[in-house]
Symmetry: C2
Subunit: 252 residues, 2 copies
DNA sequence: CGATAAATTGAACTCTATCAATAGGTGTGG
DNA sequence: CCACACCTATTGATAGAGTTCAATTTATCG
């Protein structure tokens, strides 16, 4: 079984052996980071690229009034930042939620990776998917009530974790608190609690002790209007065919 | 005065003359598109790259229940999609809001542009800023009430339009309806109307006939917690040197 | 086992949606 | 030039969603 990054990138298309070997090399050194610790803070200049190998991290921002908004879940295979080369200061922070295994990749290694055409396209694809997820989250926040936002979030996490082999058809580990879910969907923890109860009463899910059981994925998707198109998981060949030296954009 | 794209890209850093000449060439051919027409629909395969030269367009998604969420305003200098090379199908649509002047750039031209190091970096910067805007919009939706969301949106649009010379210090054209503002901040048009009245009663803004007057930009920014860091308007090197105080950066 | 964090519950209150009706504005055809 | 249709903006009233405060119960962990 491959590591989560290789596994994720190959959703887009098969990678040549040397590319996979490079990935293995690059993630060789990793460290364990305890839950709820900061990987990089807003305002800091990113130096290296972080990659989540295990556990769940998040991107977030803290407001003056103390409120925190989480706007991305980083699951195994997700990069913290490929953009070290361009932006000088982080406009948001990255923290672990659970205990995580994190690889820190030097920028030289990133350049090395982006010089391989297949890998470069796969990495670019991954950043485009990240962007698509941000868009979908805005839709989620703007158009659905809290219960459906929560249901949609669960559907997305299930799809993403399932894609890298970290979710069965009907359950997965989700080591976050109700408060963190609240900070994600933009509501209060009290209300998240009531939404969870309502979803459980409908026999759709059960969330307890950092473990989510999805009892009826079809209905959960249906009520939340979840459509996985935006995750672009079907690395259909027409995606890859139409590629013309995508790596050019990384040669900067 | 340069075209809006050159103007925007040079916010990141000065471009060599040949790069600017290339941009001029590339946007030479443009067409007028009437308001409220679709440029690309969800599901379609993008063929060329659209660039807004005049007017305002948006990215949006329509839900089954008929609701529409707008999650990006495209102002002059903004690209519709640099990602034609990777993704097979659009996961959202792009429509004009007002009448627009649109340049359609063939993919070959984009490749040509990304083969110039300065231009490639600037274009990459622009896509990173677009992503940062999406993140900030999620914060906006999740953490602020409708009135403050609206105020924040106005602050952002002012900053972005001002950066490309399309806003004075205290006003700019904003040819959108209250309903469209509602679809942007995820509320009802009735409520937008009341928020506008409240903001006007506070003598912060005045919005009428597609024209926004900002009477008190400082206070508008203050109440909405607007901090322009995420727009990364101060380009490459200067960004490194003009580091704000820790407090400014940590709290939005 | 105690200390601490997380989850749960109830109640009062605020924000926002929805419905419905009215007013204002713009462009078209007669 | 007016009359009309159509879209946008505005207003009031009511209902529903979600917040906040506070108290209690249930985990979790050293």
């Amino acid at each position: 079984m491959y590591n989560p990054l290789t596994r994720k990138l190959e959703l887009f298309g098969p990678l040549p052996e040397p590319d996979k070997k490079l990935i293995d090399e690059v993630i060789e050194h990793s460290r364990s980071v305890s839950g709820r610790s900061s990987l990089i803070r807003e305002g800091e200049a990113p130096r290296n690229v972080y990659l989540v190998l295990d556990g769940i991290a998040c991107r977030s921002k803290v407001l003056r009034n103390g409120g925190r908004q989480i706007f991305a879940f980083l699951i195994p295979g997700d990069f913290c930042d490929l953009n070290v080369f361009i932006l000088r200061a982080m406009d948001h922070g990255i923290e672990t939620l659970s205990e995580c295994q994190i690889a820190e990749i030097p920028r030289d290694r990133i350049l090395e990776m982006t010089q391989r055409p297949h890998l470069a396209r796969a990495l670019w694809w991954a950043t485009l998917v990240d962007e698509a997820i941000l868009r979908e989250w805005i839709v989620n926040m703007g158009q659905r009530d809290a219960e459906h936002r929560l249901a949609h979030l669960f559907c997305e996490l299930h799809a993403r974790l399932h894609a890298v082999g970290l979710a069965s058809d009907h359950d997965f580990e989700l080591p976050v608190t109700q408060s963190e879910l609240a900070e994600t969907i933009g509501t209060s923890s009290v209300h998240v609690n009531r939404c969870l109860q309502s979803l459980r009463a409908k026999e759709l899910i059960e969330f307890k002790a950092g473990h989510l059981v999805i009892q009826n994925i079809d209905q959960l998707r249906s009520i939340s209007g979840f459509n996985s198109n935006y995750l672009h998981l079907t690395g259909g060949k027409s995606d890859r065919e139409s590629v013309a030296s995508a790596d050019d954009r990384f040669h900067v």
